[in-house]
Amino acid sequence: MPWTSYSGRQRRARHSQLHLYSGIFVLLAAGSTLLLLGVPDEKHLSVYSNAANYSLPVTERNGSDYVGLLELFEPLGTVTSKTGGGGHWKFRYYEVESEFTAGKTRVKVRGKEFDLPANFLLENGRGLVPLASLETLLPRILGGPVTFHSSALRLFIGNVAVHFTAQMSKTDSTKLVMDFTSPVNPAISTEPGKIRMVFAHEPLVAPGTQSLTFDSKTIPSASYEERNGAAEIVIASSVPLLATFANDGRTIVLGPPPATAAQTPQPNQPAPQASAPPQMLASTGPAAIRSRQIVIDPSHGGEERGAVLSDQLVEKDITLAFARRLRLELATRGITALLLRDADNTLSLDQRAATTNAIHPALYICLHAASQGNGVRLYAPLLSGPGENRGPFLDWNSAQAGFLPNSQVVQAALAAELQNRRVPVRSLTAALRPLNNVSAAALAVEIAPPGDDASQLDSPSYQQLIAGALAAGITAARERIEAGQ
């Protein structure tokens, strides 16, 4: 039959079909484009329970946020589901049965019916419930209390909340002591005038008030906020702060580094800016290493992960592990060491240098890790000129100049100790910040695996071998510098 003989109805039908197939074609093209360009980030729901803390992707349907019921319950216990005819979906959590119908709000849990705030959805056997229903639906299935912080996408199942108190130390008015009811491990980052702690995995909840004030010029206030599935505590400060953990992670003490703490902040003193201070006050010159601390800087941290060493190892974690071992090794030799970061927090290079210079340490040692090569590489600072020092002020970019001889002494001592222990070692110079900004003997240590296997960097015995050699080298350097003076 020729197509011209189609009736008007047939032509309309044909046009509709043509539109349908054109639409499919356009969708295919759009889909391909999306695949090539990538998809936007998903929202996630953080779930805290006694069984597990986890996060789930949130799906948007018809303008509402949904979450998969199976995914939500699987980490909590035994779940099964069964899809029946007519969009009927049965869900079983241990002995509790629930019945849902696709496109309907009415559900039945434990034999009792009630309505969800939006329709239940069924996609490929996967039941989706609206986020807004969680606070009413889950207690009926679980038989226990559930608290949902909808604006922050945080769901608390049972009494799992971690509470905290914050107060200025009774013995040192410059220190803020935060006590938590369970161990915590926040990501800590610093900004000019504030320190931010993000609790992504802990069910932390607000204290009585979201804003806290303290009778302290050093730390005047703190605030609590929840967003994007995490809790945040932001502490305002007039000086750079160091966070130290105690009591198995249940206590965080925030305070100025020791040298800064000794200098009580003046009321009119402006808050130091962490970004690129152009000049700094000169220290009184290199003093005996025995009388002062060692600053250990585990490089990278927080958002800045450093080199990817293997499928499972990133540089920031290895440097922190080595730093902790080195601190312990130094402590057994009677040398006090301070870690610039003792958690997974972000510090800028300028912040690392400024904090170190405020402490006036005997030695600054920054730790790096690499998968290339093997053994240990020691880097003394590579200076590009004497800098423009004016009176008591040192040029920020060449503050190291006056301390370079001591840096080289430490480098030689560490190399000798590593060679004694048959660890392959190279001594080089490097333009590696913040070495040049540090007004103390300064050295960078790059630890490579003993062989080709980068996973050996995570080996406790290898870490112990290197940490022991470095600690012995630092002890020997102390004696050499003292002998030179």
Partner: protein, 196 residues
């Protein structure tokens, strides 16, 4: 009932769409891989060749070694500097590179600023795809700076930019915020070679 010719035409359209998609995907892969492997080892400059010393980084030994090469060089200092570094990048982007750089690594330009300052402008892919580590980044920087200062007289300091902007580090380690002093880098290259 869907007319047969409509089914056929839609099937043809789908076939064309899939075919075009496959062709675009195929060509995209060729363009990307071409950037890495089809880059000329020597710069495409005609004219008489000159012998130069390229300072080439070797990852296995962790050193920068002088390598003699004959490449066509223009007369102008700035053009010479650019051709020289293009030749060096050609070595690194070759399949048998002793110090592989990431896909799409390019040098955008070299500017000679009197007195004695050279500015190397790398593209973002150079830094973004560079392997991270103190030594591996230092080898790259030392190789670029030493090759330039050894072959173009009068350069005493070198500054490295990425996409025309200052960047804190190359790939998390080597400092790009300051200037590299030619004599300091020369000593560093010698120090590496001495096997310390």
């Amino acid at each position: 009932m869907i007319p047969r010719h409509l089914v056929i035409s839609v099937a043809v359209m789908l076939g064309i769409a899939l075919g075009m998609g496959f062709y675009v995907w195929h060509m995209r892969g060729r363009v990307i891989s071409g950037a890495a492997s089809n880059r000329p080892v020597m710069p495409p400059v005609s004219g008489p060749t000159e012998q130069v010393t390229l300072y080439v980084a070797y990852d296995d030994a962790g050193v920068v070694r002088p390598v003699q090469a004959r490449i066509p060089l223009p007369v102008g200092r700035q053009q010479r500097a650019e051709e020289l570094l293009q030749a060096l990048l050609g070595v690194y982007l070759d399949k048998s590179s002793p110090h592989p750089l990431g896909m799409g690594s390019e040098m955008r330009a070299v500017f000679l600023v009197d007195p004695g300052l050279a500015v190397i402008d790398l593209n973002a892919a150079f830094a973004d795809s560079h392997r991270s580590g103190v030594l591996v980044e230092e080898l790259t920087v030392a190789s670029l700076v030493q090759s330039l200062t050894a072959n173009v007289p009068g350069i005493t300091r070198v500054k490295i930019l990425v996409d025309g902007k200052e960047r804190e580090t190359l790939a998390g380690h080597a400092d790009l915020s300051g200037f590299y002093d030619a004599s300091s880098v020369n000593q560093l290259v010698a120090q590496m070679a001495s096997g310390q």
